[in-house]
Symmetry: C2
């Protein structure tokens, strides 16, 4: 018997270029029971994109109302469109006892942490500075000053690692996924997650009151 409990919100973040998307995709195929957070956006649906699966498509007015009513765990504006994480989708999933993963940049993760501190915050680290540099430089044929700017931004993002409970090195996709899976398993084993009902019979034997409230 596994003690039953609500789901976990896992926030996967890290500097740009570290491979968050690739890790998240690999993790989802290894853990089909893991729910992926669906973002809301004001941009128009593209060919084949489905409401509620790829995005929640919202008008600008609807999105602004979500901001006002604190219905988003985080949001950002990018090339003229809004993107954000609807709080109710996350909370409904957790209430069903399912784990949900949110793959997000460092600025977004910071907003989530303010609104949802009981999330499990996992920071992806590159194997080394050199590896991240090669990844950022190897993306295209941008001029050196653009690359230097991106690298400086990534270094500033790496500096946020101390805000996260966990730091996982993305050296090898399998090893990296195995570590994140271990973190999820371990978080489910946290002692405060044992449901109060488990203790009922034990409490009848002792005189010290409810174990779950200690």
């Amino acid at each position: 018997m596994e003690p039953k409990d609500g789901g976990l919100l896992i926030v996967l973040s890290g500097p740009s270029g570290v491979g968050k998307g690739t890790v998240c995709k690999a993790l989802r195929s290894r853990m089909p029971e893991l729910v992926y957070s669906v973002s809301a956006t004001t941009r128009a649906p593209r060919e084949g994109e489905r409401e509620g699966t790829d995005y929640f498509f919202r008008t600008r007015e609807e999105f602004l109302e979500m901001i006002r009513s604190d219905a988003l765990l985080e949001y950002t504006e990018y090339v003229g469109n809004y993107y954000g994480t609807p709080r109710d989708f996350v909370e409904r999933t957790l209430a069903e006892g399912k784990d949900i993963i949110l793959e997000i940049d460092v600025a977004g993760a910071r907003q989530v942490k303010e609104k949802f501190p009981r999330g499990v915050f996992v920071f992806l680290l590159p194997p080394s500075f050199e590896a991240l540099k090669q990844r950022i430089a190897g993306r295209g044929t941008e001029p050196p000053e653009i690359i230097a700017h991106r690298l400086r931004k990534a270094a500033e993002e790496v500096a946020r690692v101390r805000d996260y409970q966990y730091a996982v090195v993305n050296d090898d996709i399998e090893a990296c996924c195995a570590r994140i899976q271990a973190i999820i398993t371990a978080e489910h084993c946290r002692s405060e997650r044992v449901p109060p009902g488990y203790f009922r019979e034990f409490e009848r034997m002792t005189s010290a009151g409810p174990i779950s409230e200690r």
Copy 2:
């Protein structure tokens, strides 16, 4: 690359009858790299027992001196002999970067937590009250009042679960070991364990000072 760091002290405890010894043995065969804490004792060696492998055999005077000089993480007296956990064996193992496991009763774990709060404290729970009751009653042919006494003691021990970071249900030995292994992996991924040297190159790109000191 896995960030290098010191070893972890894993303290495995739980009520008597829960199967700590069996789980610990299974875990050690699954994780041969895990070091097992060797106890010091004043009792005489039995046939085949080896100094430093089974126990550190000490005279009563030596043991009392270890107590006086705070050289033990915990100790107890049992049918006229002392038993305890030498601090230096634990600390040397950790300094070598190896994980060490200590299987111990609830009273002992409490002493260890006072002296070594940065340990990873794992509490083994029975699948249910009924399962523990059967285990305790099934041990022999003791009179009901002895069994009731043991059960009451076990219930008092279960009430200490909130002092532990983790609670693992011993329903199935394989599943139980897998959870403990996941906890050890996850604890190695804690962000504060990334070695300061990892950040050096990143720090050169930012102006905010050492990342490791944030």
